[in-house]
């Protein structure tokens, strides 16, 4: 079977949606003539025309809000925001409007908009182009938050998002776009809101998503050679959170290690950790551990950027430490 890239998979998902449903259109900065800032929409303007592949001016609050309005009005917009950092200009529309309208109107208004954006670090783009704010979006009731980390999810999650009657945010990590793999069969793709166990193991659960998934898989592979059998849980959907799959995994492995490219404080890893502590404390036979980004805006210099991000070696080191008998002094915060 031929391999395709994550980028091509995303593009194929968008093309299929445009073909199947005349209400679908793609709107965002440079999605048309330029071909998309990360080339996801390259060629779509030629196939679908400027009525359905709409180059928006630099006006994030404006065109994201317009996407929300068009969804209310009966269309099925796919809004692309170049980078999660720029989505902050549209946060008002997303949080104050998209996320609240159904509730605030007593259930009268439906906002079936899909908002895609790239995110994540690794390209030395510094502190205004590299962040991971998925936890911030996952904080908001009314939104659904997807984060595909595999080719299959990149290809098929968009359709599930479009079929959903509520606003869905989709994150695409910039380091995944060139990743290549065989495209799995559509029937093998789990429903949108389910976490998926990407690798089974009985020694510990590494719980992660999106850009850190391949790092976790890498680490699990290397841990195997050290005699540690790690399970890898891919959350895929950060809101609503599939607690059942998380807890089921931890119930079997008795150890939870969360890997998150965002910051620890108040982040998604904290939510997962609290969920395990609240509902699965008695399953655990080691403290929950987290490998996250350093608490610093992402720096430009290569060595500093890499030092700020979760690394495979770190995941391995923490996993090894978790397998050793508990040593309170290592964890003493004082």
């Amino acid at each position: 079977m031929d391999k395709i890239t994550f980028r091509e998979a995303s593009r194929a998902g968008i093309a299929e949606a445009l073909k199947d449903d005349s209400r679908v259109f793609l709107i965002g900065e440079d999605v048309g003539r330029y071909g998309g800032c990360y080339a996801v929409s390259k060629g779509l303007l030629d196939s679908f025309g400027a009525q359905r592949i709409i180059d928006a001016p630099l006006a994030e609050a404006g065109f994201v809000g317009a996407g929300i309005g068009a969804a209310i009005g009966g269309m099925r917009p796919i809004v692309e925001i170049m980078t999660v950092n720029f989505s902050l200009l549209a946060l008002d529309q997303i949080i104050n409007n998209a996320a609240t309208l159904r509730h605030m109107s007593g259930g009268q208004i439906s906002v079936p908009v899909v908002i895609r954006m790239s995110c994540g670090a690794g390209k030395q783009l510094a502190a205004q182009h590299s962040h991971s704010f998925e936890g911030l979006y996952a904080h908001i009731p009314g939104l659904k938050v997807l984060y595909p980390g595999t080719i299959g999810d990149a290809r098929y999650m968009l359709k599930m998002a479009l079929d959903d009657p509520d606003p869905v945010i989709i994150f695409e990590h910039v380091m995944l776009y060139n990743m290549e793999a065989e495209l799995p069969e559509k029937q093998t793709i789990a429903p949108m809101e389910k976490a998926v166990i990407r690798r089974t193991g009985h020694d510990l659960s590494i719980i992660t998503w999106g850009g850190c998934l391949y790092k976790a898989m890498d680490a699990a592979e290397q841990l195997k050679t050290l005699g540690i059998d790690a399970e890898v849980v891919d959350l895929r959907c950060l809101r609503p959170l599939d607690r059942v799959t998380i807890l089921d995994s931890v119930r079997r492995t008795h150890k939870a290690l969360i890997v998150d490219e965002s910051w620890k404080s108040g982040g998604m890893s904290a939510e997962v950790s609290a969920t395990i502590a609240e509902l699965g404390l008695w399953y655990l036979d080691a403290p929950i551990n987290r490998v996250c980004s350093a608490e610093v805006p992402i720096p430009y210099a290569y060595h500093l950027e890499q030092a700020s991000l979760p690394q495979v070696a770190q995941i391995i080191a923490v996993a090894k430490q978790m397998m050793e008998p508990f040593n309170a002094s290592i964890r003493d915060p004082l």
Binding site: E29, K123, L125, A126, Y300, A301, H303
Partner: protein, 329 residues
């Protein structure tokens, strides 16, 4: 050439030419260094637009403040940041003007009131309004000068900032570098009314449009605007018509424009224009031009050598500069 340029003398014109050549050649070297992977991340070149930064900077004093975009190598150099600290920053070295944390898009030098280096389109405009507000409140006799592109004009922050600047009658000079494209989106696809200077006028700012390829025109307009601002006339707006000769960044395949258009604009380029005028009017000898180019190349070589040799920030300092350091002395 029109009357307001006649006072410009030979030495000054040579200086302007040298400043533009410095920026042009510095960035040409940056392309080589990018291909060698010494410079990473996004790299946005100012190639074709040099007359704007160089012209406007002539109207500013050391007390004035400057804010620019991610396409700001030219503004940094013209403002007076040394090539050494700018190049070191692009190499991600500790001696860089942002300690290696910012890179090409985030050059800073607070000692020269050069407040970046902002990569959120239109994000610097409200900050510029605030700096001008502070200067006014503190009774500092300073102008804040904010550079941005045509694309920024579509953002809400642009409109909010112009309104505030005029409402509060602030000492601020807005410079719009209209190069006809925001990445791959042409002006007519981003603006319902493409006469950008009229938008500023609608907020009550003194506003004009000029040839941004002519460094003498730019200097003259900026000086008039700054002296009016210093005399309490409030915010001014100058739309500079220009063109970028290269792609938006190093990743641009330029599917959205044709080569003819680029070649036509290159003929009107700021360096060609000034060099030709100087030659036609016997204001520069070929050995003088050579001497300028030689001096610039030497400066660049030295900057690359020192950036190459410079130390990187120790990784132990990763968390430095997130907050103010408290001294326990």
């Amino acid at each position: 050439m029109s009357n307001n340029k006649l006072h410009v003398n030979r030495i000054h014109l040579h200086f302007l030419l040298k400043q533009m050549i410095r920026i042009r050649r510095f960035e040409e070297r940056c392309v080589t260094l990018y291909n060698e992977e010494k410079i990473r991340g996004f790299l946005h070149l100012y190639n074709g637009e040099e007359a704007i930064a160089v012209g406007v900077m002539q109207a500013l004093t050391a007390q004035d403040a400057v804010l620019a975009t991610y396409r700001e190598h030219g503004h940094a150099l013209a403002r007076g940041l040394s090539m050494d600290i700018v190049m070191a920053e692009m190499f991600g070295k500790a001696s860089g003007c942002s300690g290696g944390r910012g890179g090409s898009m985030h050059l800073f030098d607070s000692s020269q009131r050069f407040y970046g280096g902002s990569a959120i389109v239109a994000g610097a405009l409200p900050i510029a309004v605030g700096i001008a507000l502070a200067d006014k409140m503190l009774q500092n006799q300073a102008v804040t000068c904010c550079f941005f592109g045509d694309g920024a004009v579509a953002e809400g922050e642009f409109h909010e900032s112009l309104n505030l600047a005029k409402l509060w009658q602030l000492p601020i000079l807005f410079i719009c570098e209209n190069n006809l494209y925001a990445m791959g989106t042409a002006l007519e696809l981003e603006q319902s009314n493409q006469k950008i200077h009229l938008k500023a006028a609608s907020y009550g700012l003194a506003s004009q449009v000029i040839d941004g390829m002519n460094v003498v025109d730019v200097e003259a307009a900026a000086k008039l605007a700054c002296s009016a601002i210093r005399n309490g006339a409030g915010p001014h707006f100058i739309e500079c018509q220009t063109y970028r000769f290269r792609g938006h960044s190093m990743f641009d395949t330029q599917l959205y424009r044709n080569n003819d258009e680029v070649e036509q604009w290159k003929k009107k380029g700021p360096l060609i224009q000034l060099t030709q005028w100087l030659k036609d009017n016997h204001q520069i000898e070929s050995d003088e031009l050579q001497a300028i180019e030689l001096a610039v190349d030497k400066e660049i070589d030295a900057a690359v050598r020192s950036a190459d040799a410079a130390e990187i920030e120790p990784v132990e300092n990763l968390l430095k500069h997130v907050y103010t350091e408290v001294s326990h002395g």
